[in-house]
């Protein structure tokens, strides 16, 4: 959003985004901070408390010292201090550490609370050599004035290294190998994955003979040793741990603390919408060991590219797909046709094992929208000299996907660029997790949580805490038994890539009867804003036992409906061609025998609308007609033109 963006400073410190409840910013007023330099937005609210009493405030004093003031990069510096008021400790007060390198704009680092004696403590690390200035501020309270400490300058220096090397044997025949081994240490600690060069010192200038890297490295897909594994490990550890906080032991197990775990990562192109989010473009495989990545590999897959990772596999349904298209087998990258991720993922797990011999413990899928949202946090990346930002990443991924072919070569092809972007993004994500402030970590955490809730990140197996929304859970299992539900699942097959240019509207009118039955009239409308036709297989999943009565359509071409019964649902499927810049629709009418429940004082009707993974949003029009003579007690999410980016729950209670 314009005006709600943060800026990355040259030194890598992020000026934090403004708080969502900062009405002063929304009103566009200037940021005033009378008692000091301008404070980064994330720190507002602590420096300008509102509603102070008119009685005089007690002056406070804050002291702070850093120990040691000079430290090696990557090692901790502790800042301790005390907050007092006229010599008396101030307990349970918020104190905030700011980076004051730029005196005109302090940058929030971390916040702490004073203890009973007024003492507080922060711990800092930095990975880049340099000098940094910090201050600690107290925001004050209703009784105490704000105060600020004297500036502290902390210097981070690189750790001095020592290298040892021995040759064996020292005398060797011509043409035979001599092994030269050694150790690189920094302040006594081995340094892993560092480049070391063997030089011929016959000439004092030294001539490079060979270069290698110290061990304890992770071998990446391209065979190069890299720090990437460690950074990726942190990223995935954070994703997995943050996403699986409960149950704790399950989360620990998933992160590989109780034995290595291997996961298959799927990047889905949601421009070509599929049942579980989008066309599968890239597969990744990583193994987690004690919360760190032991191996990582990305590979481009496409419908027309045959490889060990992308064989032809048989489809076991759903019936409405296989019968409609007459397709019984497809490329593995095209096989996500099940109606939900929880049904698709186990088959993917099995098919991948049959193709590669590689067992995976779980599957993580994310779409381009997820990549865009993550880049909103990580910032731009540069790949092959091209700058990728959150504003263009989706379109660039589409482009690279479009030009990727089975035979392309060189470093500039779409396959290479696709996997390079993912690798770079993963590294940046890991770096951010490692180096960022608590607030930035939480921002990323909340971003991942929101992405899961909206079906842009899917994880199997479902751990039962965060991953419980539509797309991640089986449709039949995610709705309370006896309640009404609608899950619209669209599929395009390469000729109708248009998801971002198509607006979906779900219009559901339910007429309730006194015997608990209902007649539902469900209209699905697609407004195609693209300059090409939208060819879509549209499926509406409704409760089992629904009896289909009629279907009507208003499209350029139409085939259907196909009515099939699945495990816990009835599927109503139609294939429609919505011409360029036009609107097409299909209307189903069906009877449900019993969708009303009795409550203590009357009756209630609940409708759960599940958003398809991958799509960004839909419009919901929901109306409920009560039985004759009934009186409404409560209604929720009943109405027109509701723009929804997740699941919706429509609820009505009546007597």
């Amino acid at each position: 959003m314009p005006g709600e963006e943060e800026q990355r400073r040259p030194d890598g410190i992020l000026n934090l985004g403004r708080c969502a409840d900062s009405s002063a910013d929304r009103d566009g007023r200037a940021d005033t901070n009378a008692d000091g330099p301008r404070v980064a937005d994330g720190a507002r609210g602590t420096d300008a408390p509102e509603g102070r009493p008119s009685t005089p405030l007690v002056r406070t004093t804050i002291t702070a010292t850093a120990a040691p003031p000079q430290q090696f990069t990557g090692r901790d510096v502790t800042i301790t201090g005390r907050l007092t008021a006229d010599g008396t400790p101030v307990a349970a007060a918020f104190v905030t550490l700011y980076n004051a390198d730029d005196v005109t704009e302090l940058v929030l680092v971390v916040t702490a609370t004073t203890d009973d004696e007024g003492f507080f403590q922060f711990t800092l690390t930095d990975t880049v050599p340099g000098h940094h200035t910090y201050v600690v501020r107290s925001s004050g309270t209703a009784a105490y004035e704000p105060s600020v400490s004297a500036e502290m300058v902390i210097t981070f220096v690189t750790i001095p290294t020592t290298i040892t090397a021995t040759a064996a044997p020292l005398q060797q025949s011509v043409g035979r190998n001599v092994a030269i081994t050694g150790t690189l240490t920094a302040d006594g600690t081995p340094v892993a994955e560092a480049s070391v060069t063997l030089c011929n010192a016959d000439d004092v200038k030294g001539v490079a003979v060979a270069t290698t890297a110290t061990d304890a490295a992770v071998v990446m897909d391209d065979g190069h040793r890299s720090h990437t594994g460690r950074y990726v490990a942190l990223a995935v550890l954070f994703l997995v741990v943050a996403s699986l906080l409960f149950p704790l032991l399950d989360g620990m197990s998933v992160a590989g603390f109780f034995g290595d775990k291997t996961y298959l990562v799927i990047l889905q192109d949601n421009d070509e919408i599929r049942a579980t989010g989008g066309l599968m473009d890239v597969f990744g495989l990583f193994t987690v060991h004690d919360g760190t990545i032991a191996s990582l590999q990305y590979q481009y897959v496409g419908s027309d590219i045959r490889s060990t990772w992308n064989p032809i596999v048989n489809l076991s349904g759903p019936a409405s797909f296989t019968e409609f298209f007459g397709v019984g087998s497809v490329a593995l990258s095209d096989s996500n046709v099940q109606y939900d991720f929880a049904s698709f993922a186990p088959k993917m797990q099995s098919d991948f094992y049959n193709a590669t011999g590689q067992r995976v413990d779980g599957i993580i899928a994310l779409d381009f929208t997820a990549v865009e949202a993550i880049m909103n946090v990580t910032g731009p990346i540069t790949v092959s000299g091209e700058v990728i930002t959150s504003r263009n990443v989706v379109d660039r991924l589409h482009y690279y996907s479009g030009i990727a072919t089975a035979t392309e070569g060189g470093a500039g092809g779409g396959k290479t660029l696709l996997t390079s972007i993912l690798s770079t993004l993963t590294v940046d994500l890991g770096r951010l997790i490692r180096d960022s402030s608590v607030q930035q970590k939480l921002t990323l955490y909340s971003t991942l949580q929101a992405l899961e809730n909206e079906g842009h990140v899917l994880v199997y197996p479902n751990q039962g805490f965060w991953f419980r929304s539509a797309g991640g859970s089986a449709v039949g299992e995610s709705t309370p038994s006896g309640d009404d539900f609608i899950s619209v699942v669209d599929t395009t097959l390469g000729t109708g890539k248009a998801d971002f240019g198509v607006t979906r509207t779900i219009d559901d009118h339910v007429e309730l009867f006194s015997d608990g039955s209902a007649v539902s009239t469900l209209t699905l409308t697609y407004t195609n804003g693209c300059f090409w036709d939208y060819d879509v297989l549209s499926t509406a999943l409704v409760p089992p036992g629904a009896e289909h009565i009629t279907v009507q359509n208003a499209t350029h071409a139409f085939r259907g409906p196909e009515v099939t019964n699945g495990d816990g649902f009835t599927a109503l499927s139609s294939r429609m061609l919505v011409s360029a810049n036009t609107t097409g629709s299909v209307t189903y009418t069906y009877i449900q025998p019993n969708v009303v429940s009795a409550s203590g004082i009357g009756y209630h009707y609940d409708l759960y609308v599940h958003k398809q993974a991958g799509i960004t949003s839909y419009i919901l029009n929901a109306s409920v007609q009560l039985p004759p003579g009934a009186t409404m007690i409560h209604a929720e999410n009943v109405g027109l033109h509701q723009v929804v980016d997740g699941d919706a729950h429509v609820s009505v209670a009546y007597t």
């Binding site: 985004g17 989360g251 092959s384 479009g402």
Partner: protein, 193 residues
Amino acid sequence: MNAKQGAALAIVGSLIVIALAANPNWFLSAPNANNVTYTEPASAVHASLGKTASDGTIALRLNAISDASDPATSSAWVKFSGESHEASGVYNFSLTPPPASRYLVANVTVTSVDHTEIPFSYGYFVLIARDGTAYYANYAACSTGCSAQALKNRALNESFSSDVYVLFSVPSATQATAIAYTGANPPIVMSST
């Protein structure tokens, strides 16, 4: 439970405490780390609107910058996007911008002035806004012959010369002051006036 598992549990526990203690409004305000600027090197080659500039291998001329909603621009985009799709396999690109955004399309004449094949990518184009913010290209379209080289192969042969339409997604109120091509050496900066 060994020490390693204990330490990991402590980490998880800390995350829980932090998450629960944090004000939801505070950490739900996702920042946007994508405001970037383009720092033009002193050696950059400049040209005004309608004038050609070159680094010795590629010559560029900015013909126009217009909103994608402009009928003529839209018409040209639909035509060339279709040709690009047919010729190079790149996706069609709809001209419906995201909320609070607009699409600006730069019409640039690209000519190879080298005697060998030279690398090219529309990803090197950057739109510079009046406030200095840089917006890197989202997509491009051009004629059938152009697409096979410039979009599919990302390289221009000796005789290449074609108009390329480069699309930028920018905030609604954004006005362009220049288009830079960072793939040239030195970079080529073309003013919008």
